[in-house]
Each structure stands twice: as C-alpha cells, then as structure tokens.
Symmetry: C2
Subunit: 322 residues, 2 copies
C-alpha cells in the first residue's frame, strides 16, 4: 500500500499530497445557515477549546473526508486507534492525542482524513457538539465529507449484537421529525438521512463476517428510563404490559432500535447539506428485558461492530480494499 | 478539629462513628417511586459500572449526607479535592479516585460524607445519572441528605461571575414545569426546589467574600445555540433584535440565568422527596454577547464560586464553622 492521503497524526498537511478517493462522492459544500457568522471577527468554539484566531483550522482540518462521532470518549479514542491501524498510517497508534485536551466536554482525534469525536449522551449534548463541529468544518473549508454516528442502542425485536443502519430517525411518537425550540417557538425539521450511504453500508456489511446488519428505523428519546419504557428506573408508573405494548407499537412502525441522539443528528446534517448516516449496535433486545447484564467482553465486541463496518466503508471509499 | 464524621477516602465506615450534623435537617426518606425495583434480584447501575450484587452499596455510600453534581468530570474531581481540603480529611487530596473508573459516562468521587459526580451536558444526560444516583442512594439506605447541582450558566442582566441560586427552574416557555414523555405520553412535573436550602445558601454567601449571589429563576433549555437565542451557532434564523426581545421577556418573568439541566433535576428530586438546590455561576451577560471570550483564569475563578459557596454550606451544617 502506498503512503497515500495520509499525513501523520498532528502534522500539517499540504492537501495536494492527497490522492482523491476512488469512488467520487459529492457532498455539496457545507451550508452553515447563519448570516451572523460572516460578521464575527473571531469564532470561539468554546466546547472544543478551539478558535479561528488561536488555531489554523484549514491547516488542521482541511483534509477531513470522514467524521465519526459517538457518545463515549474512550470509545472514540479506540476508534481513532483502530482507524490508524486499518489505514496503515505511519507512526504509533498509541500516540493519537486529544485535540480538545484543554476541555473535558468532548474528545477529538484526527487520523489521516478521519476525525473521531465524542458527543456525550442525549440530544442537547450532541447538538452543542454538532453546532461547533459544523462551524469547524466550515471554517476549515472542508468539502465532500461524510458524517457517521457510531453508537450503541437498545434493540426492538432483534438479537443483541445486531447493527442497525438507520432508515428514518423518529421521535418518541414515531414521527420522522425533530422539534427544535427557537426563541420559545417550536419549529420542525426533517430527519431524513442519506439513502445512498445507508445502502452502501449495508453492502459493506455483507462483505464482513460477524457484523449482522439491517436497515431499520431508529427511535430517539430524551430519556433512557421512562422515555424508553424501562421498568428499572428510579421512577416508573407503568406495567410490564404497558411497556410491551409501546415496544410493539414501535416495532410495527418499523422501529428496530432506540437511542438518544439520532433525530437531532439527522436534522442538523440535513439542514446543513451534510451526507450522514447513523450506525448503532443493539446491546440487548428490549422485549426480553431492560438491564444491560451482558458480560463486559461481549459488550466490547458488540461495540466494535459499527466501528468495523464504518472502517470498511472508509477503506472502500479510499480504494484500500476492493 | 476532632476526627469526626470523616472516614478516609475509599475506606469502609461504621456509621456509628459519625457525629450528627449540628443543624438537624430532615429529608424524608428517599422515595424511589418504582414498585418493580423490589422484584429485581439484582440492579445493575449500568452507567456507573456499579451494581447491587457486585458492590456493597450501603457500606460504600451509607454515610453520604451531601451529593454535589456538575457537568464536567474535571470540575467534579477538583471539587472533591477542594472538599477534602476544606473538611481537613485525613490522607492526600490528590488520591481521590473515580468510583466509576470502569466507565467514562460519569465520574464519581467520595470524600467523607460528600459525593461528587459529573453529569455531562443537557437534560437526558443528567436524567440518566439521576435515575441511577437515586437508586444508588436508595440501595445504600441513605437518609437526610441534600443534593446540589453546581454548574455554569449564561447570565441574563447580571455581571459575569454572579452566582444564581435557583428560585424556580423554568422551561424555554418560562413555565415552572418539566415535561416528561412516558411511553409516548407527555406528563408534567413540578420543578419546585427547597426554599429553606436556597435561603440558607444566600445567607452563606453573605458570610463569604467574592461570591456575589442572588436568588432568581433559572431557565433550562435543550439547546445551547438556537434554544438560548445565540447568534453564533451553525444555524441561526433570527435577528439580534429577536434575540434581545426573547432575553428581555425572560428577564421580565424573573429569569436571571440559563442552563441546560435544572428543570429535570428539580422535577426528579421533588418526585423522589429529595431536598435539592441549583447553584450556577454566570460566565457572561447574554445581553452583551453570546461567545464565552473571558480569559481562562477568570473563568476558572468564576467556576470555583458555586464550589466555595456549597463547601461553606456543608461546613456550617457539619458544625465546622460557626
């Protein structure tokens, strides 16, 4: 394999060194939809501890082609190390350093053309990260990139360990929309994701062993316990039958997994013209229970499946595998 | 000072060693409102990496009298070290260890009768933590404790650095309530906090230098940018005047600061009969801007103010200061 595309970690790259991805993909240029940004002398990306005056964002990030986000900081560090290995980048994978090390709100790692960022849990947490990420990519003049959320979820009628590539991201009323409150007024945004990327991910999964994958709807809730019909929270006012009825309704509308970030992720990416996909593994089948009691090593293996799938996608796009 | 109450970090304590707090306070026993919990053989607190079968929760946590939660893991570690120093506990404050070190979802530190836990950003993130914290305190048979959120916020018409003790936690429509979706149905919970604790905190602030403190309403939003009327997000469809009008409306209803966790914190504590208070410092005055451009060392000093105030409250309750 030739030393294509691949700058070392933390080094500055001349973009002309890059070989174009083998499969061309056109992401229309990122559309930051905010006229005020042009009037700002400086933009401080507070929760990343980065800024346009203190950092040369085009130099640091201009070559990004794939952005992968996930809840856990440790997991996104592991993913960066895994990608480093998979892309056979120069240098030691243990040397990846957190670009956001001045803050503990998020962690960020860059390995070649791949950016790996943690987003914490829930819609508000990922939304802060996405606002600052989208501005970062805008300031860095990135084009033609794809954004993936790789995460964990509860399964609805699936064997634990199944990977769900999201067709529609739906809210807790099974609607494919995201309600955003702007200055005390509710506005509604579409949560449609990129069909082409989803299909390509499904194709990738068929080329891998041990990454059972389906396409299905993903329900996004603002609560892990009452909001997802769990019987084991500090508060619970419903019966087992009520819970199962809700899960059956969800299943019948096409929901195959439940997590806590997909609607705002899909809505913001769509509003800004970013190609995006959601790829989550199910840790349990919610028809069978609520507690995550699976042994730690099995959970670790499950959590690697979305990483393996997206890594395969990236390698194919870069022409590193046929 | 006698070696009262104060077990070392991580050691097991015979509760009978404890001297009762000087000022008696009655928190009615914690009410976990979930009949299903009694039927469970084991309760795995997944996001803490703790469980009732794997850990002796009464031994580890039975002596807790003060629980302090805040967004940032680093800040909550600093707070634990600060409390260690303030209570003159035996051992080295640098030795505080993360009880949740098996997971990176939350961090937890125990110093004597004080538990310090991070909760990440936004309602869903703090809500997962609170469900598991309330179950933890229930399993540990803790009684008569107080729960504080110590955090950061945007100020509304206040000088940066002002500490706001929350009177009412209100939503983005200025209503003192929290809407929780349970199995696809919206239920409404009161966000009333403990008036006595708030007043006692205000009294404490008057005994300290450099901790300017007021009591006011706190608005809790699910979004940091559009939801709080910021002009500097990736998406913004409103004018400066629209923003200022919204902030003026908020001010006129008594809102003095804006953050992202207080309504669910107040609602869950109230539902479970836990005395609770929200104490946040303002990092900027939102009438003057949106970006947090204050120098790092000034922000660090601001962020210590809620810690200093709550530490003083704790010391008074324990009879360590008059």
């Amino acid at each position: 394999m030739s030393p294509i595309l691949l700058n070392g970690i933390g080094t500055v790259t001349d973009h002309s060194e890059y070989i174009e991805p083998k499969v061309p993909f056109k992401n229309p240029q990122i559309h930051v939809k905010n006229p005020h940004l042009d009037t700002m002398e400086e933009d401080i990306l507070y929760h990343f501890n980065l800024g346009t005056k203190t950092h040369n964002l085009p130099e640091m990030f201009g070559d990004i082609k794939f952005v992968c986000v996930g809840g856990s900081a440790n997991r996104m560090k592991s993913f960066a190390q895994f990608i480093h290995q998979e892309l056979a980048l120069p240098g030691n994978m243990d040397d990846v350093t957190d670009i956001c090390e001045g803050t503990d709100r998020y962690s960020m790692y860059k390995v070649g053309p791949v950016l790996s960022i943690s987003h914490g849990m829930g819609i508000p947490s990922i939304s802060i990260m996405l606002h600052e990420l989208i501005k970062l990519l805008h300031h860095a003049r990135c084009i033609d990139f794809i954004l993936f959320r790789i995460g964990t979820s509860g399964g609805v009628g699936l064997a634990p360990g199944t990977v769900v590539v999201t067709d529609k991201a739906v809210d807790c009323f099974f609607r494919a929309q995201f309600e955003q409150v702007v200055l005390g007024k509710v506005i509604t945004r579409s949560t449609e994701l990129d069909v082409g990327v989803s299909k390509e991910l499904l194709q990738c999964s068929s080329e891998l062993e041990d990454v059972p994958t389906i396409i299905g709807n993903t329900m996004c809730t603002s609560d892990f316990y009452e909001g997802q019909g769990r019987l084991d929270g500090a508060l619970c006012s419903f019966s087992t039958e009520d819970k199962l009825e809700y899960l059956r309704k969800a299943y019948n509308t096409g929901v195959r997994n439940i997590e806590m970030e997909s609607t705002v992720f899909a809505a913001m990416c769509r509003a800004c013209g970013i190609k995006a996909a959601v790829v989550c593994v199910t840790l349990l089948n919610r028809f069978d229970g609520d507690q995550i009691a699976t042994p730690h090593d099995v959970l670790v293996e499950y959590q690697q499946r979305p990483q393996v799938l997206v890594a395969h996608f990236i390698k194919k796009r870069l022409g590193l595998v046929v």
